[in-house]
Assembly symmetry: C2
Homo-oligomer: 367 residues x 2
Amino acid sequence: MAVTLADVAARAGVSSATVSRVLNGNYPVAGSTRERVQRAVEELDYVVNGQARALAAATSDLVGVLVNDVADPFFGLIASALQSEIGAGGSGPAGGKLAVVCNTGGSPEAELTYLTLLERQRAAGVVLTGGAVEDEAHTAAVTARLARLAASGTAVVLCGRPPLTFPDESPGVTTVAFDNRGGARRLTEHLLSLGHRKIGCVTGPLERSTTRHRLEGHRAALAAYGLGPRTAAGADGTAGGDASRLTVHGGYDRASGYDAALELLRREPDVTAIVAANDTVALGVCAALRDRGLNIPGDISVAGFDDLPFSVDASPALTTVRIPLQEAGARAGRLVMGRQSSPPGGVATIATELMVRASTAPPKTRS
Amino acid sequence: MAVTLADVAARAGVSSATVSRVLNGNYPVAGSTRERVQRAVEELDYVVNGQARALAAATSDLVGVLVNDVADPFFGLIASALQSEIGAGGSGPAGGKLAVVCNTGGSPEAELTYLTLLERQRAAGVVLTGGAVEDEAHTAAVTARLARLAASGTAVVLCGRPPLTFPDESPGVTTVAFDNRGGARRLTEHLLSLGHRKIGCVTGPLERSTTRHRLEGHRAALAAYGLGPRTAAGADGTAGGDASRLTVHGGYDRASGYDAALELLRREPDVTAIVAANDTVALGVCAALRDRGLNIPGDISVAGFDDLPFSVDASPALTTVRIPLQEAGARAGRLVMGRQSSPPGGVATIATELMVRASTAPPKTRS
DNA sequence: CTGTTAGCGCGTTCAC
DNA sequence: GTGAACGCGCTAACAG
């Protein structure tokens, strides 16, 4: 059915090896022969069989990119930048890879399933993006899988998730981490410096590393202002202190933000500011507050995280913490392609930046 | 380096053929033998080589998904639904495929390049999403490529782009089209029925099919109200009539909407409503109007298209035209997997729905 | 410079 | 039920 190398060879009156050499260009071939071969390729509309090539040469054109949610611009931006980085570079050995975007939906099982599928395909590289699920068994499973992949020559890059510790010496897994903790801390400090003292916190899923880091930053800022958990029980975040009473866990979607805001108002009507898990959640929070007839930031301040493109368009424009997602994605792409050397220690931390906009203001003074 | 079938066979004390049979389960194997093999697989952490399997069995686990912009939720939503549809179904012959999301950036060259790459990989299926570039040469090139892919057994599905006409009899390319024209028409009719007569139109890139269809719907509504182009020259949309003076072409991004809105106000300060190319553009339009001190919808109404998740959160909530993107993506996924039969004529048109929200209202009466 | 010869790892006949 | 042998389409050593 399909045209093969042998067909082209026959048409051009040469051996299949010669055709292969012309195609790959890594070997001297006479000009006239080359032209004849190229003409035959054109005439027959020949397209190399990537699988056969991969099998024979033990290489792959595939780079797997695991994301928690393709529909979320957070991942879209990373994937987009990453993909244009690895897809460029023409057809050379270090370019023209195909990005296989795998949507895990945040499910640990899906994550492992995809890693298996990618291992099957002998992928040239694998990039894991976004917060990790912090379950001990799962982390161990992922670590083992990645170690094996790395050992078999697959480039492994973590982007937006904390570095993993491997039992053996570093198997060459590099990490592009986000400074979630620092960003969250600066954000809460901003609110504190405006005069807020009752600051609600709507976080993401409990088990995600991103959630934990942002929450830690938030609490560190509070602690620095002497607003730590008031009771011992509060230290674990389950009961007791202000910090836990003012914290609501939810998902990374808008609906979670909406519900969480209502819950916060119920728990503590005097809350004067709310920091959200991310910008999407912040929009949900804003919607809930508006529905309650509250003015932002007049009655209550709201802040997001990530600085997704739509944040500047919200009204009021959202105060948030900017993560340079495209830069991070591009860097991850370069790392997985081996076009950039691994940072010292294998971990590059991407700085975050506080973006103060219109959704935060000093708290209303009691009348 | 990597463990192969033969290794497993040796460990289990059987032939590699038997291991293959156990793995694929399509053949009778004695229970005891099967267990022994499975144990060997576990112990050796064996993972099949997808490329070798693909080469031998002439099948592929890859489904290509071409999108214009991964970072745009429009495509993210389609890709997400599509991917969960093809990735599910376990490891059977009709399941467990990997979605290769290819970001063309709207570039015709990139589109063709990716089609070549996918053809190389002998992809099981290819889905082209989003508006097509309406250039004659490019359309011909894509048509030829798709015909060849389809002929060689690759399932080809068009999602959100108009059906293609093939020279030969239908090569089994199915299309999931959006009723952009009808949606745009109903949207403009909504504005007309509110009393608007000077309706600005911010469209997408001129050469995109989506742009043309939405513009056609818009103009059809105007024409039905006797508001067609006033001069003959206006008929081609380049000069003369109101329709063209009130139309500004741009991109599908927020900045385009911002600029276009300012341009519209300059051309026609009396404009009372603006329909945008999509929701993202509409947000840009809103931002520009706000910066000009105009109230929405008090001074001017704004409408979007697509009904992306954030539209309901904009303030005011955006009147828009809903396209059930996830359903469309899921359907495209089922079609490309052969899990759903092709609609009659090979074309399924997805209905769109007008969502009237707070950003549109009757025009201000002159005082 | 070019042709010949081996595999790459697996699925699949065909015999046993 | 199982093993041996062949071939998928291509690249990479060898020769020449």
